[in-house]
Assembly symmetry: C2
Homo-oligomer: 214 residues x 2
Amino acid sequence: MDVLVVGANGQVGKLLVNMLRDSQEHTVKARVRKEEQAEAFRKMEVEVAVACLEQSVEDIAQAARGCNAIVFTAGSGRSTGYDKTLLIYLDGAVKTIEAAEKVGIKRFIMVSAIQAHRRENWHEKMLPYYAAKYYADKMLEQTELTYTIIRPGGLLSEPGTGMITAASDIRSGKIPREDVARTIIQCLTEENTYYQSFDLVSGDVPIEKALKVL
Amino acid sequence: MDVLVVGANGQVGKLLVNMLRDSQEHTVKARVRKEEQAEAFRKMEVEVAVACLEQSVEDIAQAARGCNAIVFTAGSGRSTGYDKTLLIYLDGAVKTIEAAEKVGIKRFIMVSAIQAHRRENWHEKMLPYYAAKYYADKMLEQTELTYTIIRPGGLLSEPGTGMITAASDIRSGKIPREDVARTIIQCLTEENTYYQSFDLVSGDVPIEKALKVL
């Protein structure tokens, strides 16, 4: 597939772009917020689109043209306020969804957060973040897009193992970002993940197999 | 109808509670956030329920029992941060919607904000507020409830005139809170407003008539 990675400059995003660039199956376009972030990708010979999620749906759609899948893994960064939590994680995500619809991109993978679908399990110290993810996921589920919502546990920087547990309801856990990126790529064409939402943590089943028995 | 006013301590809320208390057609229950806010309503011989919108759906549902209509006009107050914008205006509203569904209350009136349905017209300095209202309204429209979404223009404290303009798309305008409260009450039983969303400003048509020709 021709994949637009929204949030390419993030930690999961960077891993994902690298893997997609090296894959035989897919091509990748990195969407970043600022021109300064674009150069590193160009040096890696990765196509880049610069568009901020606070811009219009039309601008975001422009960046998505030519792709047939979108992975949304953008964040508002650590140093921004809750206004950006709302405007990036929720409204930015939904504008990206609307951009997909506008351009005719059907495949949409959302990177959410473990237990975001269960308000009673939202992390006490991150309620606004979870609320934003919850509603973004809800909005996606109500579209006609071929969505997959991946809700990873606590993200680790250590190397991946390729072994996961994926299920509709996992209370807690952690997972290396590398395994999240691998899972996203596997989901792109794994039809068993279409219209599915699931929690994702490290486990003892190979990614490919785990996604087939979701 | 037996009306629960969520946000009874707000400026529109207080006017609404007073009008409902004095009406022949309706009874009112005032929902407030804190016990300290309850006393003033009890002195007015208005039934009160104390429940915070950051509590569980079950707690909010408990406060709604015995009513057959809900008006949501709650805010997070002027002095709170954008975290509360998200948690009260959006998640608090949706929890109230879920509480209505839980208790079997069908009639739901949401007080939103003018042009909240058009992202391109959101007030530049109030983007998080508009985003929260937008998604709360979206979530309500997707329920099975008999909803009405009222999007008033800039709120004035001056006395109402009883004359309004109500339409699906009014770019800007103002309206006295008193006329907003009157419009809400008229909507409660005006079937022409069921499943409708509209902007509301001061105008030259009597409220009752304006709502019949929406």
